[in-house]
Structures are given as structure tokens and as C-alpha cells.
Subunit: 347 residues, 2 copies
Amino acid sequence: MRAYLETFTAKTPLHPAHLQEAVLSYLEAGGKYLRPCLALWCCRALGGSDEQALPAALAVEVFHTWTLVHDDIIDRDKTRRGRPTVHEEFRQKGESQLGLGEFAAHYGQSIAILAGDVLHGWAVCLLVEAAQQSGEGKEGEHLALELIREMEGEVLPRLIGGEVLDIQLSQRPLAEVTEEEILQLISGKTAALFAFSARAGAMLARGRYCPEDVQISALGNFGYHLGVAFQLQDDLLGLIGNEAELGKPVGSDIREGKRTLPLLYAWEKADEQQRGRMGEIVGHVNTTEKEIAEARGIIEDLGGIEYCRSMAKLHLCQAQEGLETIEEGAPKQLLGGLAQMMVERTR
Amino acid sequence: MRAYLETFTAKTPLHPAHLQEAVLSYLEAGGKYLRPCLALWCCRALGGSDEQALPAALAVEVFHTWTLVHDDIIDRDKTRRGRPTVHEEFRQKGESQLGLGEFAAHYGQSIAILAGDVLHGWAVCLLVEAAQQSGEGKEGEHLALELIREMEGEVLPRLIGGEVLDIQLSQRPLAEVTEEEILQLISGKTAALFAFSARAGAMLARGRYCPEDVQISALGNFGYHLGVAFQLQDDLLGLIGNEAELGKPVGSDIREGKRTLPLLYAWEKADEQQRGRMGEIVGHVNTTEKEIAEARGIIEDLGGIEYCRSMAKLHLCQAQEGLETIEEGAPKQLLGGLAQMMVERTR
């Protein structure tokens, strides 16, 4: 996979150099490659080969990557995958290499916006390549066009809608946030792309656009619930994970006031005094590590962690249902293992 | 054209409401529609119908629009097309509707990043639709895929590269900027999309992907030089235009230190004293209106305006050469008129 990406980059070097470096930053750091695995293994599950799904598998990874680049600007995160986020890296380079002084932060942000835009286009190009890999002729090209339309016209607006909801909810009093809204946020921000990754891989195995096919929609549901379970676990790890393993700061969700399921559940169970304390800690830039630990304690005591964990397991079960129509064999086992990993992972 | 856009939007309403409003903001304000005209008229010039080119014509306009949304964040512009820029509009709404206080500026910026991203995806979807309009069958779908690949894999990296160069040059001493770099910037930031608009319209008339076709590449060159002439005139208007007509502030290029051809030419001709004065005025946030007028005077006296105007005319002539292979008739006259307008326009 890495080799394929490198060939692709070598074909189209970017100028100026900072743009090239920014575009490659997260890809070089490497990720968990969950979405590409989902695409490849769903393709295998329906009898397809890895070659058929490879460009699409890379497309969903690159698509995910650009959303991270933009998301990190919005969340003002400084680290990702154990290294500086793109906007932070180029703030530093603007200062040290270009002597930009006060302008460096804006420079870093601008480079990150633009690098994300280039990656976005690149993801689309990889889906164009999927047409060539999925065999000769009309069916393959029609399929590629439909996948592009789904990714850009359906997944993207849902994903961005989830992102906007995320921003808006974090500014709204907890009393006015509902569990339904948090699940809507997760559905858009994370699960939509997981579902698409599974569907794309599966349809590439078929070699034609067939959204009504029972196994395609079953694998789509599998991907969807996998995505929800992944995000719930992510929210747990953001609260009680190990910073060194995760490669990003733990507790920053509390500092930023992110509306997550454990927080909302705990808030609903809390008494007046606990609510008051949570209100003082959650969503304040200057919250100390000690206060974050205190909020974590309150959430844990009130059962927020346990509730979120049980919801993640529920979605794991729903995901597993999606595998029922799939023939027994190695690909199905891989997909089952991937689902299990969602709720067991510590990084 | 407006009607087609409205149908398209109605099909996919966006949530939350702020996202929908942000996505439609610039489209509702309306623009000059130069790129769609180019696509439609190049299609007509090769005997095609408006229906064939309409989705692609909208695609290039929507593509242009998302780059404006992101560009305005980067340039920190507060007005566009006579109304607030997206990030400024949603800074205001964040303050007044959501009571965000200090967080409002970051909220406005985040909404603008995300709205640009949705528009980007929408532009790609419109090119998918081009396949359906360009007649049944394999040729049309192949053409649409190739157009998507060109727009996302070739035009986009060039455009963004031009944008990054724009940012970097504005921070570099004028003595270290060359005319070649400024033309490279214009070529990427503006001319690449103009060339694509012309080529896309022309190939849709042919109904198949035919980049080697003599008339296609002639119209591509026409679009390219039209784009350069347009940008040179834009830089002139940014210096000596009428603010009310333009709908955006005049002189802000000087305040922001944009490296434009008139400025560079004047700087090269300037004596020590003039250079010193220009250095004090150009690229300083607190530059006054009076100082901007002074810099404008220096640039004009040293022939910067005249030089830029003659370069724009040169590209106009080169554009007109691209029309030589095109049959006489109404579409050719429209394209000729469009070219003429590039260097005569005052808004």
C-alpha cells in the first residue's frame, strides 16, 4: 500500500516544497489503516482480489487524512500520531525557516487548509483509478463514477455536518444536548466513511454498481456500526487512554468541552454539586491536569465510562449481524477480528 | 444556470443550518460567471449544445467558489461581492446567534473551512453529472472520469501551489521576487482553471476524451491566456479600481504586501528613496489610506500600471491566436468579446 502511494506521489510532485511536505506529513507518519482494511477485506469477503480494491482502499485513507488535517485546525490540536499536527509543524517552519514571527501561526494554518484541499483532490483521483483496476469497460467506469458521487455528494456532506454539529454542541450547555444528537454527530463524522469504505470494497468485488445487493448493504451496515463502535471507543480513550500509546493528548476533550457520550451520561446522573464542579472544569482552556483527573473521576463514578463501553459493545453486536450473510472463511474472520478490535483497542 | 443549481441544492439539504447557509453564501451573491461562460461557449464553438456543457460549467463555477472561500480565510479579507466573506459572516453569526464571544472568530473560520470542503465535493459531483448529459454510453463516462482526474489531480495541485507561492512571496523581500515567479503564481492560481473550463466545454462538445485534438488544445490555450489577462487586470483593479464597483476593498493588496506585477516593476525601476518609502508602506497591517495612495502614485509614476496593462494585452493577443482554428460564427464572437472584456473590465 505504501509503495502504491509513493508511486502516486512521485508522479505529481508539488511546489512549493512546503506544500509537498505538508501533504505527505500524516501519510508518512502512518495510521491504523482501518478504513483501507475494511475496503480490502470486504472486497475479499465477496471473492474479489486486493488489486481490485487497492486504489479505493487508498482513496478512503487519503480522504480520511484530509479531514484530519482540517479537523486539527478546528480543534486547535498540536499533536497527532506522535508528531506535530500540520498547522503546528508549519507554524514552526514558518518561524524557523522563513522568519515569519507573529505571522507564523497564520502561515501554518493556511498551509494546513491548502494541504488538506490537495489531499481531498487526491482521494478523488484514487477513485478514478479504481475504474481501471476494476476490469475493462463500461461497468467499471460507471461504478467508479457512482463511488465518486457517493463519496463527494453523500459521505462528505454527512461528515462535514457531523463536524459542524461537534463544534456547535461543544458551545452549548450540557443540559441542552441530547444523546440522539451525539449519536447523529458520530454517525456523520465517523460512521458514514466507514460504511462507504465497506460498500466500495464490496462493490469493487462485484465489478459493478449494485447498491441494492443484499450482501453489499449488509457489509455497509457492518461498516457503519463498526464506525460507531470505533468512535465510542475513541471517546473513551480520549478520557481514560494512555497518552504515549495514543500519540495525542488525553483529557483535551474535557478541556475543549467536547460533548461525548460518557460526559453526557454522567452529567444526567450528577447531583447539583457534581454538575457545578463539572461546569467549572469542562470546556475551559485553562483547566489543570488535576482538575481533568477530578472530572474523569466524577464521570467514572457516575457510570459514564461503563455506559459508553456497553453502547460500543451494542454496536459491535450490530456490526457482527452484518456478517451473517457472508460466507465462512478467512476474510470473514478478518472482518470479525477487526470488529472485535474496535472495542478492545488501547490506541 | 441558477435554476439548475437550485434543484441540485434542494436535493441535498445540509445540516446544521449554518452549514447550508455558508455553502450557499457566495453562490447566492452571484459572480461574474466567467468560467461557466468559457465552458459553455467553447462547447458551442465546436458545435455542442448548452445542455451538454451545463453541469461542467456549474462544476467549474462551484470549484472556483470553494477556492474563494478558503482563499478569503487565508487573505483575511472581510468583504467579497459586496457582502461579508464567509468566515466574517459566521463570526458575526457566532457572536449574535450563538453568543460565542471570543470564540466567534474561530467559529467563523471553522465554518468557512468546512463549507469550502462541501462545495469542493459538490463541484466533483457536478462533473459526475456531466457524464449523463454528454450522451449515453461508455464515451461519456470515460470523459467524465478523465475530466474529474484533470480537475482534481492537475488543476487543483497547480492552483493550490499558486496559492502557497502567493503566501510565501508576500513574505519575501521584493528584491528576491522575480517576474517569472509572479507569472508562475498567476498561471497556477488563475489560468489553470480557466484553461480547464475551456477544455472541458470543448471536449463535451466532442462527447469523448480527446486531449490531442487540435481545436481542443487551441481552446485550452485560449482559456489559459484569458486567465492570465484576467488576473493581471484583477491586480490592476486591486490597485486603481473603484471600490463600489468591485465589491471588495481597493488597496488591500498593498496593505497585505501581495507581490503583483505593477508593484514588482515599479520596485525594480525605483531609486533608493522610493524603495525606502515603498518598504515602509507595502505589507504593513496599519498602513493608512493616505499611504496607500502614495504607494499607488509611486507605482504609477514608475510605469508599473502601464507595464501590467501591456502584459495583459499581450496575453489577450495570445488568447486570440487560440481562436484562429475556430470556425467563424456567433460562439467565436462571444469568445472574442469575452477576451476583450478581460482587459477592459472595471469590476
